[in-house]
Structure formats: structure tokens, C-alpha cells
Symmetry: C2
Subunit: 335 residues, 2 copies
């Protein structure tokens, strides 16, 4: 079952069910007006949504064309957005930027931070930067949206709480990372609004692509139309989503609709840019620049600037993009 | 106008208007079912809520008795909770605990972190700790709930966006602060669910107690029935709420219903515990312990333990408590 939220005049938009080929959709309004409403009553809503999805799939309901340009983030705003660090290779590569102090800690326990969740970007929203020189970067990540969990939830509870899977662009202002971390309170200004893919899908309907609490699909990233990276989200994810959820619930209960990010997808490999046609590349610019510095003594890949376009897609087995696309242009505030 | 949210079977509870003496309340359901709904449409909702409040106040509506035990947090869950550091004295006193590195930074720009907002504690909810030895502390703070603001909002926009004022207990697990900050991603496990006062009030109806974007009332804290502190929230607030909002909007827009905390209230003074009857004391245990260490070479005040009770109230001019009380017992998870 694939779900999306269409923009309307309301902050939470309108929940729709989308056909598996992303061609058509139908309002889920008679079951749940919004994605959050569905998540709040998932046990009741999910079977009804699944039945409606089956009707749409079978053609018993014609529905309407699904236009990705009208899609908002699956949750346009959420009560909690926690970004974890599942991929150790990403941390190793950008450690010098982040100023992390304890190498060992990171392989024992995943790092995580609380992100802003009050106003996510739609998949086609521009990335608005307030200044030109903030070292704008993208981070392609997989995320899960979960049901409510008690404090100290078990791994089994955590795995069973995963309602939906999607991906995202964790927009990062690298120039502000050091300030944020040096002041001791953690990420804040360096992490503006996150953008989400148009589609959130149930784990069961991902088939073999969802195993061991990981999404086994490449995230394909293009910058200005050129391939930038296609690391597989199922490779190198040291902490899986159940691990990340368990860690998030160490000292708190987690509310329904909590979004847990897996961290920047990062596969262990030696390659640097320019990317070969069949290469793996990177899911953020910071990793490429670090690799370039190590190999050439100097970073070559520029950060994003106004006018640039970044596209992120999860690449399905048959060459399709089953969760749709994030495609964001970069704009300067007020321009 | 005083607003509260009564618990019901739904996660967002029911919005009510409360009489100025906190004796009676009336459902605001015909205007807005929930606090978030009112905040989403504040320009339409506020005049209607004010009219209903006037009717309740005049006795034209009898309403029902307001029982604080049935009150949830004004926003039982929110899309954003940002805690700032308005009081430099607090930072100076607990710097050794927090491991902050840059003294100067803190007086130029307020520090802030993103807190968990998916499931706040009601004012009378227990503080549930997963383990006994986590150095449980309270932090008494004032907070504002704001309307939507664009990125790079001005001070004037920020001040005008303040819809409601309340106070809170920023529950802190001191033993986990160092871990959280050393790993470089900021506060997370050290900041479990925050508890809020039952009442949120419009700035205008606070009269002289709301000036210069600050609440000029003492926060009175009792632990196990004994006075612990009564610092005035209007004194020593170096960064006022407009400053904190402007800082929060540096790289992002802020959604309606964003909660901005002013940080632990802290007045500059030399006093240490035991508190004199007319003393100022402290709004968190960490400050008292730091002061004790400096004076006696050893901290004397214990952190909270299961069975302890902390009460926080804003003390009104006439000896009343115009925003009600937070009163939380401490419980061990599963006990």
C-alpha cells in the first residue's frame, strides 16, 4: 500500500492512496482525513486503507491521476523527527567536519538528534537558503514512520512499530555545523527544513526490498542532471531501524507518527568523484569533499548554490522509482 | 484569556476556556476543537475565543468546574519545541556540567536546542525514569506559544507572533547530559518528556506581568513541600522571547504552535541552599549543587528520587497562582 498527502489549503493536506505504478490516486478521506489521523488510529485505519488500495489497484475505483507536483511530504508536519546515524561509513568520512570526540561510542550506540518537524518541505519545494555562503549540502536518507511505543521498547516492539517507509533529503548547512556543535547544544541552525519523498509505503508491500529492518534499494542522487551517487541503503547500515528506534526510546515514549531517519546512506568503498557510470558515489557532498581532500589534497566538488537542482530517487528492481522523486531547486531567500 | 486542554480519549484533548480565577471552564469546541486547531486559525479563532471568555467571566455562561487534575498540557503534543537559554546566570552556573566551550558566544547569541514534542507530560503526570541513578533534575521555565513566522523574521514580527504564555518543567537527566553533548549531536536522552502548566494565557491578559517580551513573575518551586526557589522570570533574562524567536528563525520558518522556552529561570545572586524563607534560591538542582560545591567544596542537595514531588507555580501579584500548578511525583518505570 502506497500513501501520499496532497496539498490543500490546510497545513496537514489530504491523505490519498496511490496506485503501485504511481499513475492514479484516490482520497482516503472517508477513512482518515490526514496521514497523522491514520497513524493515530492505525489499527482501525490500516485494514480499511488496504481494502481501498486493493480496489484502486484492481481498477474497481478509477481514482484520479496522481500528479507528484501536487504532493506534500507524507507528513507535512510531524510531532517528532529523529535522525539517527545508521551508516558508520558516513560518520567516519565526515568526522572532521562534525568534530565528534568519541570514536568508540559511535559503533556501540547510534548517534541521533531531534530535527525540526513543524514544516517539512514537499518533494518539489525549493530549498530556500537565507545566505549564499552557508555550504549547502543534501543528505539522502531512508526513514520510517512508526506507531506509538513505550519507553524502553524492545527490538521486537520497535520492528513491529514500523508503519511506513519513505526517503528524505536532510538539507544541511555545513558552514553552521561547527557552530552548532561547538556551542554544546547540538544541531539546530545547520539543519533547516527536511524534504520528503511523495510516497510512504508499508514495509510488507516492499517485498524483498524490505528485510532485516532495512530498505534494500539504492538511493540514486543526481545534481543538475548528472549522477552523483547511488549507494544501496541496505549495505553498510550498521544500526538498522529497530536499533535506532530502541535507542530513541531509551528515556522516553515515542508518539504515533514519529519519524526516524537512518542517517546519510553510505557504502564502504574507495571511489571518489567524478563518478563512473556504474559507480556508487556518495549521498552527500561532504563525503565527496572529504574523499577528494584525502586523495587530491583539495576538495573539488562544490556545495550547492542557487539555481542548482538535486534529485533523489529510490531505484526499484525493475528500474522504476517506486517511492517517487524528490526534486528541489536551490533559491536564495527573497529572490 | 486563559486556555487549557482537558484530557479526553484523543491525543490532542479538548480545548477549553478557563475563568480568570481558574474556578470554571467552558468548552471551546464550537470555535476550535483543539489548541492546535485554534493556533492554526488564530486570526479567526482568537476573537471568538475572547468573546466566549468574556461571557464566562461575566457569568453569562455557567460553564463547569475546572479541575486541574483533568488538564493536559495546553498542547499535549506540538510540532515544535525549542528551548532557548535566556538567562546567562544559569549557563554560568552549570557550565561545568554542560561542557560548553565558547563563553563569549553565549552572550552574543542565545543557545537553543530542539526538544521532543510528541508527547508532553500533563501538569500532574508522574515523571517516569527508566533507572534510579540518572541524576534527575527539574528546570522551571517560562515558554511562549507562537503563530507562524517566515525565515529571518524581524524582532517586531517575533514579538507580535506570541500568542500564549505558559511555564514548564524541562525534566533533565543530568547523568546523560555529558554523553549527549560529548557525542556531538546535542541533547537527546538527557531531555525526556517536558511537563507544562495547565494554563496558557494571552500576553495582553497578563497586564503588567508581561512587559518587554518577558514574564515578570516569580516561578515558585517546592520540592517535597519545602520552598526550593522563587527566582523572578523577569530578572536576568538577557535574551527576551523576541530575541529567542528571531534566533530560532535564522535558517528556517517556524510553524504555528511552535513552543519557545526561555531556559531555566536564574537570577544573579550569591545565595546558596538551605534557602531562607524570603530567599531566591534556584530553579533547578544543578545550579544549587554547583553553588554548594563552590561554597562548601561539596554538593549537598540530592537529585530527585522516586517518591519525591516537585511543584512549580507562577506567583501572581496578589499571592495567587494565575497559571495553575505543575505537580509531579517521581516514579520508576514499571513500578
Amino acid at each position: 500500500m502506497k500513501l501520499a498527502t496532497l496539498r490543500n489549503a490546510r497545513p496537514d493536506g489530504q491523505l490519498v492512496i496511490v496506485s503501485s505504478d504511481l499513475a492514479r490516486c484516490v482520497s482516503a478521506g472517508r477513512i482518515a482525513a490526514t496521514m497523522q489521523a491514520a497513524l493515530d488510529d492505525w489499527d482501525q485505519a490500516a485494514p480499511a486503507l488496504a481494502a481501498l488500495s486493493a480496489e484502486l489497484e484492481a481498477g474497481a475505483i478509477a481514482g484520479q491521476p496522481f500528479d507528484p507536483a501536487t504532493a506534500h511530504a507524507p507528513l507535512p508536519r510531524a510531532y517528532q523527527w529523529i535522525d539517527g546515524s545508521g551508516y558508520l561509513t558516513h560518520l567516519e568520512r565526515v568526522r572532521s567536519l562534525k568534530g565528534s570526540k568519541d570514536d568508540e561510542l559511535q559503533s556501540v550506540r547510534p548517534l541521533m538528534y531531534q530535527g525540526a518537524s513543524d514544516s517539512f518541505c514537499a518533494p518539489t519545494d525549493a530549498i530556500i537558503v537565507p545566505e549564499e555562503d552557508l555550504a549547502l549540502d543534501f543528505e539522502a536518507e531512508v526513514a520510517v514512520i512508526i506507531g506509538a511505543l513505550p519507553m524502553r521498547a524492545t527490538r521486537e516492539q520497535a520492528a513491529a512499530s514500523i508503519r511506513l517507509v519513505t526517503f528524505l533529503n536532510d538539507v544541511s548547512l555545513r558552514r553552521l555545523v561547527a557552530d552548532d556543535l561547538q556551542n554544546g547544544f547540538g544541531f539546530f541552525h545547520a539543519k533547516p527544513a527536511t524534504a520528503f519523498a511523495p510516497i510512504a509505503v508499508t514495509p510488507a508491500s516492499l517485498g524483498a526490498a524490505w528485510q532485516d529492518n532495512r530498505l534494500h534499494l539504492p538511493l540514486r542522487i543526481e545534481v543538475n542532471g548528472g549522477l552523483y551517487g547511488q549507494p544501496n541503503a541496505g549495505i553498510g547500515m550498521h544500526f538498522d531501524f529497530a536499533d535506532l528506534i530502541v535507542e530513541a526510546a531509551r528515556t522516553r515514549a515515542l508518539g504515533a507518527g514519529t519519524i526516524i531517519g537512518g542517517g546519510t546512506v553510505s557504502n564502504p568503498h574507495e571511489e571518489t568523484l567524478p563518478l563512473r557510470k556504474d559507480g556508487i558515489g556518495f549521498a552527500c557532498i561532504a563525503e565527496a569533499r572529504t574523499a577528494e581532500k584525502a586523495k587530491f589534497g583539495k576538495a573539488r566538488t562544490p556545495f550547492l548554490k542557487p539555481g542548482d537542482v538535486v534529485r533523489i530517487q529510490a531505484l526499484g528492481a525493475s528500474g522504476t522509482f517506486p517511492l517517487g522523486s524528490i526534486e528541489q531547486g536551490v533559491k536564495l531567500l527573497g529572490k
